[in-house]
Subunit: 115 residues, 4 copies
């Protein structure tokens, strides 16, 4: 059965969060390089179909904790990553969100519709 | 606004295809290692929430073409990859599909509902 | 200046460890899928130039700890990964090794020569 | 047997090229996002041990060719990527280089010493 525009919107939002997480987890990151990685991730997802806006944040506190080693940097981990991707498909607008939940020990992803 | 079970199902299917593509594109692959990579990809996606079944295929012909070099292997590329991921969420069943379209020169992803 | 066979051997070993780490960190993994991922990683690196043997291990204990969530799996993390890649180049043999050091809070990589 | 400083230098250079290739191949990229991805890749590798300098280039022409589709972007592919990473270890300096060879249909990596 054919999906509705709302269903396609949600599907597309899911693809984008899957990309952001699985393409970039593992990247060497530090306080010094954090901004450039956020910016590259944001611009990468803006290339993808139907994306209207995007926000990517690498949280300084988990990054600082993970960088307590001889070399002063870490690999990008699920704990550090927060993202929000707006998708617009045939007049429907939704937002996919990614945020690590300390309680659930899991990088939660969910979708919301704008109206 | 809260998404419906169908919308969540589509969203979850999108996440999984985004994972399969962006986690594994670039992996060194050859005719000899193709099956083990397909199997690992399939089992990786089966770990993810609400996945009921999965099929991953690395197409032999584009792999063969890309392996025409001194070392006889290639990096997994979008042209080689085909996948199908079944998701079940609150009684709703959908399937996310990934297949490279030669006509569109693009790895197309789409979602279908099972009833 | 031209590198010696020993230097090339070490260089090639480094490439392989960089691949294993950065290609696969982030992969959804569980006790059930661990073996298939180890096998796919091992076979992936065996494709690469001058690799004579490889061993990849996903350590059960850090995996178990990271999987304590609703969905019972984790993303492959540096803490879980151990690898050993044998390289042979113009009669020189070396081994690149990767092992997470809890003391240094860092995934240490090093190279050894076989004679 | 213990590796010499030159051998460690070459090993470290290999790790960095392996990282750049396998972390980022597959990233959605376009003419509009190319610069931010180059910059993030450069800054990512500068975090890693013993790196003294780095240059990353995404070649416009293969990118343009691969972006001839409805959505006007591509996945970062081996054909597009060029990199140079300077490593300094115990007074020894070497450079790892990555460049796609059209003749060999392969992303060639090699190492050179600076004296």
């Amino acid at each position: 059965m054919e999906p509705s525009p709302r269903e396609v919107c949600a599907f597309e939002a899911g693809i984008k969060l899957g990309m952001l997480f699985h393409q970039f987890i593992g990247t060497p990151v530090s306080e010094a390089s954090r901004r450039s990685l956020e910016e590259a991730m944001r611009r990468a997802v803006l290339n993808q179909p139907y994306v209207s806006r995007a926000r990517v944040r690498i949280k300084p506190e988990p990054l600082r904790r993970a960088s307590q080693n001889t070399f002063g940097y870490a690999s990008l981990s699920p704990e550090m990553l927060e993202a929000e991707v707006g998708v617009e498909y045939r007049g429907v607008r939704c937002v996919g969100r990614l945020s690590y939940s300390e309680d659930e020990a899991y990088p939660v992803m969910w979708v919301e519709f704008e109206e």
